[in-house]
């Protein structure tokens, strides 16, 4: 019998090593905050964190950055007045800024086995300095590579024992693409449902992309 549920957060996060690339979804909601707290307790260091926003002074991203466990941040957006902005300013955090759509597509490419792609996004900007560009169909385009993760920490509304997931409303955001882009995808779900309870047409993230699930009731 396939059963991806694990008893607690510590079991879900077991085996995350120093230096791992962590994919963290979330955009105003849809962030697995209990798993992030667990990662801080677990203590893996020198992590690369991939997340859309560098966050503010409070919240899961800020707490993880403040823990000193993150050596490099890959994101689309950093506020100067935030923990991420101040760590970067002090030279304590490496920063890679990626346009949000390119971030999503690099994750998708990692999950889909696409080895590289060209996009006009960012091609005529500072972000393209020193990088490979080419004119395609009359338009300047920038070469982008996949962004695979060692671990994705994912938020779900419902999960069954095969790891089929639903995400509530706009909390879907980066969850499905990060789930497909990581070697190991760890899910916290608000609700546990029986296999077959999610209508097949309504599975947002299929269990093939999911490895461990822990129930974190709201």
């Amino acid at each position: 019998m396939i059963d991806k549920f694990v008893p607690d957060v510590a079991a879900a996060l077991a085996g995350i090593v120093d230096g791992a690339v962590i994919l963290l979804p979330g955009f105003g909601n849809g962030m697995p905050e209990t798993l992030v707290k667990g990662l801080i307790a677990q203590g893996a260091r020198n992590l690369t964190l991939v997340v859309n926003s560098g966050g503010r002074d409070t919240g899961p991203t800020a707490d993880l950055l403040a823990s000193g466990q993150v050596g490099k941040l890959i994101c689309s957006f950093v506020r100067a007045d935030s923990i991420a902005g101040r760590l970067f300013g002090a030279g304590k955090l490496e920063l890679e800024i990626v346009p949000q759509g390119t971030l999503a597509e690099r994750l998708r490419a990692a999950g889909a086995g696409v080895s590289a792609f060209y996009t006009p996004t960012g091609a005529d900007t500072l972000l393209a300095e020193g990088r490979e560009t080419r004119i395609i169909d009359g338009r300047n385009c920038l070469l982008e590579y996949p962004l695979p993760g060692d671990v994705a920490l994912v938020d779900a509304w419902e999960a069954d024992r095969w790891g089929n997931l639903t995400h509530r409303q706009s909390a879907r955001n980066f969850n499905p693409v990060m789930a497909m882009a990581a070697k190991r995808t760890i899910v916290q779900t608000r609700h546990v449902v029986a296999l077959g309870d999610i209508p097949p047409e309504n599975v947002h993230t299929p269990g093939v992309f999911v490895h461990r699930v822990v129930h974190v009731p709201a």
């Binding site: 996009t119 409303q169 909390a171 955001n173 693409v177």
Partner: protein, 215 residues
């Protein structure tokens, strides 16, 4: 004759007048976010939010807030009947794949060649606020910009011959709505489409670094 510049809501209302029924539209953060408030309910315009919301509706009543439903500015919103959700890669496929009839972005500067600068004021600035702007700027069928004509800080014009700030994208802006005027970006440069009451050609040119055209 004196003139009164539009406030931010006034700029948003002016933009809303020009959005026809049936368009699929993304609104950036800042002045553009307010545009949807000025589109009447009986004109069906579908608003896309970069975090995967198709059919974004107005803010909910305080007792109807759903923490699982926010827009690109992470403000609480509602979903219009017929709306749907997609994940981030599909949401940006909409933006980058040419499926938006219109995107309206805020900006620091727009140049007469259609260049837009809206993410950093200097190459070495600590603030790195790209977000979805570079994707939206290159991908929408048409890009309009909403901004004040003059900077608040040093009073310089945001209507430029060339952008002085780091670019978001080259040659993509079709139209600019400011607190003073509406300007089309044409092969000859900025063409004035509309001015606020009381504004003169000389007054508008004085407030623009780029040369303005009138016909």
């Amino acid at each position: 004759m004196t003139f009164r510049p539009l406030d931010r809501s006034g700029i948003a209302a002016r933009i809303a007048k020009d959005i026809p029924e049936g368009w699929f539209v993304n609104l950036g953060i800042g002045i553009p976010t307010g545009v949807s408030d000025h589109v009447p309910n009986d004109r069906e315009v579908i608003f896309h939010s970069e975090n995967g919301v198709i059919g974004a509706g107005p803010a909910p009543a305080p007792d109807k807030i759903d923490p699982y439903l926010v827009n690109a500015g992470t403000q609480h919103i509602t979903l219009r009947t017929g709306g749907s959700f997609v994940h981030h890669a599909d949401s940006f496929a909409i933006a980058r794949g040419g499926h938006l009839d219109l995107c309206v972005l805020g900006a620091f500067e727009v140049a007469e060649n259609g260049d837009i600068a809206n993410w950093a004021r200097a190459p070495d600035e600590l603030v790195k606020q790209v977000g979805g702007a570079m994707d939206l700027a290159i991908g929408a069928k048409r890009l309009w910009v909403a901004m004040e004509h003059i900077t608040k800080g040093h009073g310089g014009s945001r209507i430029r011959k060339l952008c002085s700030y780091p670019l978001t994208a080259k040659g993509v802006v079709r139209r600019v709505y400011t607190d003073l005027a509406v300007l089309d970006v044409t092969p000859r440069g900025f063409l004035v489409v509309d001015m606020i009451p009381g504004m003169t050609r000389e007054g508008l040119q004085d407030r623009s670094e780029a040369e303005l055209h009138w016909s």
